[in-house]
Structure formats: C-alpha cells, structure tokens
C-alpha cells in the first residue's frame, strides 16, 4: 500500500512537472498569458508530491517491507534503524528519488519566495526547472522504479554494503545531492534569463543564494567524503583523484567560479555572458558526476555496454539539457553583452583570472577522469591518477593562489600596483621566511613545499581585507569571504603537512610488545573478540603515549559483517592539536603476532577543518546577502505604505 502510494505520488508529480513546463512556456506567448498564474502553485505541489514519494520509500525501508524489490536487495531486518533509513538513499533508485525530491522542493521554494525578477523571467525559469525535472522523473519511472514489488517476497534481505554502514556516509550522499541539485536552480535561472534576455544584476542576486547554498553543501559533502575515505578505508589516504571523488570535485570547481562571477555581475553588472555560461557548465558537471557514479561506467566500459539502459538514459538527459542550453546560449549570445568594462589590475580583473584558472583545473580534472573511459572504448586500458593530477592541477592552482591572495585587496574597476603593492609586504615576507625555513629543514618534496609556503602566505593575506575596516560595520559577506579564503589556506597547510611529514609504521606485534611511530610509543596490550548488532570483530587494545605524556588507549577493530559477508577494518584515531595518530589492526601473522599499522600524521585535521571553514564562510555570505535582501524588501514596503498614507 505504501509502495503504491509512493508510486502514485511520483506519477502525479511527473504530470504536474509537465503541466508546469507547458503552462510556463505558453504563458510566455501573447495568447497564453492567463496560464501564468498556475505555474507557481503547480511548482509547489509538485515538490510536495515528490516529498511524499520519498517519505513513502523511507517508511518502506524503516519497516523492512521485503515485498518491495529495492528493500529486499538493499536492506536487512537486523540492521540498525538509522542505517535502514539511510539505506533508502544508499542505492541507485533511492538516490535518484532523493534527487528529484530535492529538485522539486527547491523549485517549490523558488516559486514561493522569489519575487524580485520580472514575472516573465520567473515563468521561463520555472518552466526550465520543470523541463529538467521531467527528464529525471522519466528516468525514475521508466528505468529505475524504486517501488517495484517482488512476488513472492523473500524471507530476508540482501543487506547493505558494510562500508556504507557508517554515519558519515549515511549523510554524505544527501549533502552532495543538495549541492548538485542547488546548481540545477542556477541552471534554470540562467535559462530563464536567457529566454527573456534579462541577464543583469537582478538575475545574479536571485541566483546567488542558490549557488552559494549549493556550493556550501558541495564543500561539506567533499569534506565529509574525504574524511570518510580517510578513516573508513583503513589506509589513511584522504584524496586519491578517484573518478568518484572527481565527480564531486568538478561541480564544486564550476560552482566556485560561478559564485565569484555572479558576485561581479551583481556588484558591477559585468561578466554577463560568462556568468550565464558558468551556470550552464556548473549543472552540466553535476550531471556528468551523476552519470559517472550512477551508470556503472566506472567499473568498466564493458559493464556499461552490457546493461546500458540507465547510463544511456542519463547520457541522453545530459545531451538534451546541455545541448539545449548551449543552443539557447548560441541564439542569445549576440544580444547578451559583456556589460561594464574594467582594467587588468582591478578586482574584476583578478576575479576573471581566477575564474579562468578554476576552469582550467576543471578541464584537467574532467579530461583526466574521462580519458581512461575513452581509451578503454578504443580498446586500450590506461590509468590516470595522482602522478598526473597533482602536478597538472598545481600548474594552475599555484597561480590561482597568488591571485586569490591579491584579488580581495584590489579596488573595483581600476587599481594601481603601487597602491596595493605595499599592503602585500607582510604576506610576502611571511612567504619568504617560510620558504627559507622549509629549505633549512629540508627533505620536503616540491608540491608539499609550495603548499606550506603559499599556505602560510595566504593565511596572512586572507585576513588583510579586514585591516582598514571598522570590524563592527564590516558586512557579513566580507567576513564570509575572509573566512573562506582563510579556510583554503588552512586546508592547504593540512594537505602539505600530511604529505611532507607523515610517518608510517607496519609491525607484527605479540600481545605485550611495543613499537614507536614518530613521537609515539605504542604497546599492543591485548586482542579481544567483540560483537555488534550485525557484525563480530577482533579488537586490539593499544596503549599509546605521546613523548613522555599520559597513557591513552586506542581500540582498532577487524570487523566481519555477515549480511552481506565482508571484512572491514575499523581504524582508531587519536586527535591532538598537532595531528592524528591512526591505528589499524590487520590480520593475524605467524605465531601469535598481529599485524598493526600505525601512522602519525602531523596537522592532518587541518584539511577538514579548512573545508569546514570554507563552508562556514559560505554560510556567513548567504546570511549576509539574504538579510540585506530582506531589509531592502522591508524598506520598499515601508516606502510604499507611507506613500499610500500620504495619498489618502
């Protein structure tokens, strides 16, 4: 019953999306303008129906209704409740339902609250949103129905991949999806503005909170995903340029560029065509990411060719949406001018250079991710990994950091090197000093060296925009910018420090034996069996001491899940202000020795702290922008009220 309710809601939502598209498109013509009134309510109801379908799926997973195929394939009655619920989106169909739900709700919110744009632009925007949604509804209903029944129902479900039974990962996909889908709103705004030729500051202001919101969620999603890989996979790696990681990085890079160009458009009415183009590119990257992760093409091109239905469907959606948007852009490009002009040495100039460099990094990541797939299709298997991405990315990232340090100090329109040059003296001195110190210490590879030196310089430079300001009157978006840029420096320092100074120790220990890693003494006290709700494990008890400090205990586990049967190692982490001790219990070696893997990673936590700071900066900016929009609306209302009273 619940399943049928969910399916009915999904069909209805799809039908309303079609209505929203047609009414919105017709309302733009002279004869259909009467239809305009229904577009906003339809968008809201469509979002609510999608939400009903999603809640229905969560209920099915929560009660483990095994007569539903998706539940039987991905859940198990003995799983903890939180993972039963998270299991609803831990699979292909469920995650696509989450996608359309977020998309529908976001469209509904836009329809409810956005009143600044001309109504025709709003109609075109909502029609565009409906068009994109419709494609994904069709995908769900035709190629991946989450509510399909199974007759007879099996006695027990297949269970969820144990690696995914982890709180971090339960919330990682929804976070990323919120980001992906937020960019669909930016895409729709771009389409709406192109259709009605209203590309200007108002368009940028309407789009900006959505871009910022999406960007915050992408930042958090990437940060959480990186930390998850770090502690759950048991080898202490935090980024491997894996296609799945790149799939989340690409929309982030595009969104970062979009965010900055939308800022220029909102403040200076410049970079119009470029901003619209980035709006299209950013959502395209979301779809490319979804295609890579969801089509199965990453396992192998051949796996994709064997069961191409889903992959081809997403590919078709990608082609229709991107192709359509680019065609529209081509048709309108002649009427969208670039807007206000500016000099090379100006805030806009720095932002343009940063935008281009971000897009270049995006190009490297996109090309490097897709190239092995293309090569495999041509019959040759190659791998493209860190040895390619690290130096190639750095080629553009290093100049970008320099521009990032300088840009916020520049004036709009035109500035002179003499004026801002003096202000850069302190960060330049810090960078120089750090470089000398790092060379004296020695033994640091080129990339970590650059990271440490530029990270320190940037950390100082990023707070300089606050120097000549009255801190109480500094607008929140400025605080947000400073915090986010500082976060970039912090994350960079974490990455560089981990790469430069990590210490690894692999040993086979008997109970009672000791070893050392970096400044730590580690003693294996004991190995004991323990059990959880759906696993058993061997748990090592490690007594550790930092220098001559107090003794602390770490308990890494080697876990065995039984539905589905799989072994995982649960690492144990000990965090200090200056780094993390990372311990893993491996297999039993010969005799009564146990394999123990230990790492001391100085300042590694700065990587994720930096990610959180970047996201927090985004939050401050959103709050600042939305608050000033609200103030403007209230002020306008007051003026209108006063005029009305005076009129009487």
């Amino acid at each position: 019953m619940t399943a049928e309710l969910g399916l009915a809601a999904l069909w209805l939502a799809a039908a309303l999306a079609l209505l929203q598209l047609m009414a919105g498109a017709l309302a733009l013509t002279a004869r259909g303008s009467a239809l305009g009134g229904i577009v906003r309510p339809v968008a809201v109801v469509q979002g609510l129906l999608a939400l009903i379908a999603f809640v229905a799926l969560i209920c099915l997973f929560a009660v483990t209704d095994l007569s539903v195929k998706l539940v039987a394939l991905n859940s198990h009655s003995m799983k903890p409740l939180v993972f039963k619920i998270a299991g609803a989106w831990g699979n292909h169909e469920g995650s696509m339902l989450l996608w359309v739900t977020v998309m529908g709700l976001a469209g509904g919110i836009v329809a409810l609250v956005e009143r600044r744009l001309p109504e025709r632009t709003m109609l075109a925007t909502l029609a565009g949103q409906a068009f994109v949604s419709l494609g994904f509804y069709a995908f769900l209903l035709i190629a991946s129905n989450p509510f399909e029944r199974l007759d007879p129902a099996p006695l027990e479900g297949n269970g969820l991949n144990p690696l995914l039974q982890d709180l971090g990962l339960a919330f990682h996909p929804p976070t990323l999806y919120l980001g992906y889908v937020g960019l669909s709103i930016a895409f729709s705004f771009a389409i709406g503005a192109l259709v009605t030729r209203e590309v200007g500051p108002a368009f940028a202001r309407a789009m900006r909170p959505w871009v910022l919101g999406a960007w915050i969620f992408l930042t958090l999603g990437i940060t959480a995903g990186s930390y998850w890989a770090y502690y759950e996979l048991g080898w202490g790696g935090w980024w491997f340029w894996d296609p799945v990681e790149n799939a989340s990085l690409m929309p982030w890079l595009a969104a970062t560029a979009l965010l900055h160009s939308a800022g220029v458009l909102a403040a200076r009415n410049a970079l119009r065509a470029w901003t619209v183009m980035l709006g299209v590119v950013a959502f395209s990257m979301s779809m490319v990411g979804t295609f890579l992760v969801r089509s199965g093409i990453l396992t192998s091109v051949h796996a994709f060719a064997v069961d191409p239905e889903r992959g081809s469907f997403i590919l078709a959606l990608l082609a229709i949406n991107i192709g359509g948007a680019l065609t529209l852009f081509g048709l309108r490009a002649s009427t969208v001018t670039e807007g206000e002009r500016f000099a090379v040495v100006s805030r806009e100039g720095a932002l343009v250079i940063n935008n281009v460099l971000l897009c270049a990094i995006l190009g490297i990541v996109l090309f490097g991710t897709l190239y092995p797939l293309v090569a495999e299709a041509m019959g040759a298997k190659v791998s493209v990994g860190p040895p390619y991405f690290n130096p190639m990315g750095a080629l553009f990232f290093v100049p970008m950091l320099l521009v990032l340090a300088v840009g916020p100090l520049l004036r709009w329109r035109r500035d002179s090197v003499e004026r801002f040059g003096k202000r850069l003296l302190i960060p330049a001195l810090v960078t120089g000093f750090a470089a000398v110190a790092a060379l004296v210490v020695g033994g640091i590879a080129l990339l970590p060296f650059l990271g440490l030196v530029l990270g320190l310089g940037l950390a100082v430079a990023s707070v300089l925009p606050l120097r000549d300001r009255n801190l109480r009157r500094t607008p929140l978006p400025i605080w947000g910018m400073v915090l986010a840029h500082f976060g970039v420096a912090v994350a960079l320092l974490g990455m560089a420090s981990e790469s430069a100074w990590s210490v690894e120790r692999l040993v086979a220990l008997r109970a009672g034996e000791s070893t050392s890693v970096g400044p730590w003494r580690v003693r294996l006290a004991d190995v004991e069996p323990v059990a959880g709700p759906n696993w058993t494990a061997l748990e090592g008890k490690l007594e550790v001491r930092y220098g001559g400090g107090a003794e602390q205990v770490l308990r890494p586990q080697a876990r065995s899940f039984w539905t589905p049967p799989q072994q995982t190692s649960e690492s144990a982490l000990l965090t200090r202000w200056n780094g993390q001790l990372y311990a893993v219990l491996g297999e039993q070696a010969s005799g009564d020795r146990w394999q123990v893997r230990l790492w001391w990673k100085p300042f590694v936590t700065l990587i994720w702290l930096g990610g959180i700071l970047i996201a927090l900066g985004g939050v401050l900016a959103v709050i600042g922008h939305v608050a000033s929009d609200l103030r403007r609306i209230v002020a306008r209302g007051k003026i209108a009220y006063r005029r009305e009273r005076q009129g009487r």
């Binding site: 709180l167 996979l233 048991g234 080898w235 491997f240 894996d242 296609p243 990453l298 670039e338 500016f342 000099a343 090379v344 100039g349 343009v352 250079i353 281009v356 460099l357 270049a360 190009g363 490297i364 090309f367 490097g368 190239y371 090569a375 041509m378 040759a380 298997k381 190659v382 791998s383 493209v384 990994g385 860190p386 040895p387 390619y388 553009f396 690894e504 692999l506 086979a508 109970a511 004991d526 190995v527 069996p529 323990v530 059990a531 959880g532 058993t536 494990a537 586990q557 065995s560 039984w562 049967p565 072994q567 190692s569 297999e587 039993q588 070696a589 010969s590 009564d592 394999q595 893997r597």
Partner: protein, 170 residues
C-alpha cells in the same frame, strides 16, 4: 565512532574455539546470541590465520617495511602510483587485497635489491599493461593528456588578452 556499538561477546562454544585459535581473552560474559552468529564467528576466526600465514610465506614484505628508511620511502612513493588490479580505484599501497600484498612485497624486495623505481614500474607495465601504473606514459594514445595544459594555457591567454584589451579602452 564505532566504539559505542560494540559489546563483549562470548559463550561456552565460542570459548573453546577461542582457545583453539590461541587468542588470549580476558572478559567472559554470557550473551544470548543465535547459533548462526556463532557459526559465522567461528568461520571468520579460522579464515584469518590461514590467509595470513599463506601470505607471509609468498609475500614477506606485504605488511613489513624495509629497514632502510630511504629505501622504504622510495618503495612507498612507487607503491602509491601502482594500481591494485583487483580493486576499484585503489593503489597497491591502500589495499588489503592479496594481489596488492604480493605486489607490495615485490616492489619492496626489488627496491631492497637496489633496483630503481622506474625500472620496476617499466617491468610491471610490461607484465600487466599500462593499466597498472597511475602515471600515464606519453604514447600515441595518451599524448592529448599532456597537450591539454598547453591548450588550456593558450586558451586562457587568448581569452584574457581579448577581454583586457577591450577593458583598457575607456
């Protein structure tokens, strides 16, 4: 975060088996968990040492570092750029798969014997194909990967020059 979920487990059947597996234990409390659970536990326990011991004889350096720090660092940086052929998107330095263990051992043994990392990579590529190395070589197939940055730099330069030239006009 996994700590809160775990509880000590044991029962009479499990106890005897634990002794046989020569695992020292301290606590012993009774919990009422099903027979299926115990059977699985037993299987899992026996599976561990067998696999581990097999591994040790054929791949002695899978989980053992080289004594000389400089050589270990060399081996480590090479291992991080070699693909584990059985896994999805992992280097041999980040995998518990048996083949990754044997490859780690091979890399460490050869580095210890004085071989250069790039010679080992070349040998592995000859044996397993280009797929095994995360560092793509410049070949007729992969040259576009290396031409891309040049193209991007040229494109960026062109775009920026174009834009700023217009911008400088008053």
């Amino acid at each position: 975060m996994n700590r809160s979920l775990s509880t000590p487990l044991s029962s009479s059947v499990a106890e005897t088996l634990w002794h046989r597996a020569q695992v020292s234990r301290r606590r012993s409390t009774r919990t009422g968990l099903g027979a299926c659970l115990l059977a699985f536990l037993v299987l899992a326990l026996f599976a561990f040492p067998v696999v581990a011991q097999e591994m040790e004889s054929t791949a002695p350096y899978a989980y053992r570092q080289l004594d000389e720090a400089a050589k270990e660092a060399k081996a480590q940086s090479l291992m991080q750029t070699l693909r584990c052929l059985q896994c999805q998107g992992q280097s041999i330095a980040d995998s518990d798969a048996p083949i990754a263990g044997s490859m780690r051992s091979l890399v460490r043994e050869r580095i210890a014997a004085g071989e250069e990392p790039e010679a080992i990579r070349a040998w592995l590529i000859e044996r397993y194909g280009d797929y095994v190395s995360y560092a793509p070589r410049v070949t007729g197939l992969t040259w576009p990967l290396f031409a891309l940055p040049l193209v991007l730099v040229a494109l960026a330069a062109f775009l920026l020059r174009h834009r700023f030239r217009r911008g400088e006009r008053p």
